[in-house]
């Protein structure tokens, strides 16, 4: 179940429109390392997670990513508000405009529509957590690249906030991986799939006795 809260996780208040920048930033809405993919990835992977701490982490980070999706949408929306046809043409925004006007559509900076092939749900927690850590770093690099093109403090501020969240999430996923491997046989973590072969946790129970 989800409950909506009528506020952004971090404020977005942009005074100066900039369609060129909007076209770059939209990649974090529906691009390969964007917030929509992040949210779907974690909220889907959580179902097959075998350990309570891991279920909680994927659930709660997945929900936070929906809040980030909303922030990116707000940035794109505010950067493209009240545009004239001349501004659209001059910024090279016409190729987006012809298909979506100034609506916010999940696509990459190059205009490729969002696809589920940006994410994986492997059903193996070691594999999925490695994907999640990589995903956070890929998103962090994307934000670093976006910041190269930003000179408006109204845009830099929320983008920096989102960049920092990637680092915190990376940390939490790293801890999750450690919590998992601590429960497995250190001689061979990969002998079993901890989601599918439940017997791999038997040894841990014996150790506790």
């Amino acid at each position: 179940m989800f409950v909506y809260e009528k506020r952004l996780q971090y404020p977005v208040k942009i005074k100066q429109t900039n369609p060129k920048l909007a076209q770059i930033i939209i990649t974090q809405y529906g691009g390969p390392d964007g917030e929509l993919g992040a949210s779907l990835r974690y909220l889907s992977q959580r179902f097959s997670m075998p350990v309570p701490e891991l279920k909680a982490t994927l659930n709660d980070i997945g929900v936070e990513e929906l809040g980030h999706l909303e922030m990116i949408g707000a940035i794109v929306y505010q950067l493209t508000k009240n545009l004239t046809e001349e501004q659209i043409k001059a910024a090279g925004f016409d190729s987006y405009f012809v298909d979506h006007t100034t609506g916010v559509y999940p696509s990459s900076a190059a205009g490729v529509p969002f696809t589920a092939s940006y994410i994986q749900v492997k059903g193996d927690p070691i594999t999925d957590l490695h994907e999640d850590m990589a995903a956070e770093q890929k998103a962090r690099t994307t934000y670093d690249n976006i910041l190269r093109y930003c000179d408006d403090p109204d845009v830099i501020d929320p983008i920096r906030f989102l960049r920092e969240r990637e680092i915190v999430h990376y940390q939490r996923f790293g801890e999750s991986l450690r919590i998992l491997t601590d429960k497995l046989d250190s001689k061979n973590f990969y002998a079993f799939n901890p989601s599918f072969d439940k017997k791999c946790f038997a040894k841990e129970k014996n150790n506790r006795k």
Partner: protein
């Protein structure tokens, strides 16, 4: 900045601290110090939310306890107002 935005910023600051502590607790569920810090933040957050909702309308749908459906009122969060 408007009075509404100043208040909203205060709410978001405490709410963010609570969220960050909660994520930390997901991988450190036995950390009692962090659980105590959440209680401190919630103490500060509660009166701010009450003040905000009284003046500017509900933050959550189920918090609307007037006879008027003020949930629909502008501005919505993405509008930057």
């Amino acid at each position: 900045m408007t009075a509404r935005n100043i208040l909203l910023r205060k709410i978001s600051t405490h709410a963010f601290a609570i969220h960050e502590y909660r994520l930390f607790l997901d991988t450190h569920p036995k950390d009692e110090q962090t659980i105590a810090k959440i209680a401190e933040c919630e103490e500060k957050l509660r009166p701010l939310v009450e003040e905000y909702e009284k003046k500017f309308g509900p933050l959550r749908m189920n918090n609307d306890n007037t006879r008027k459906w003020t949930w629909v009122n502008d501005p919505w969060p993405w509008e930057g107002e």
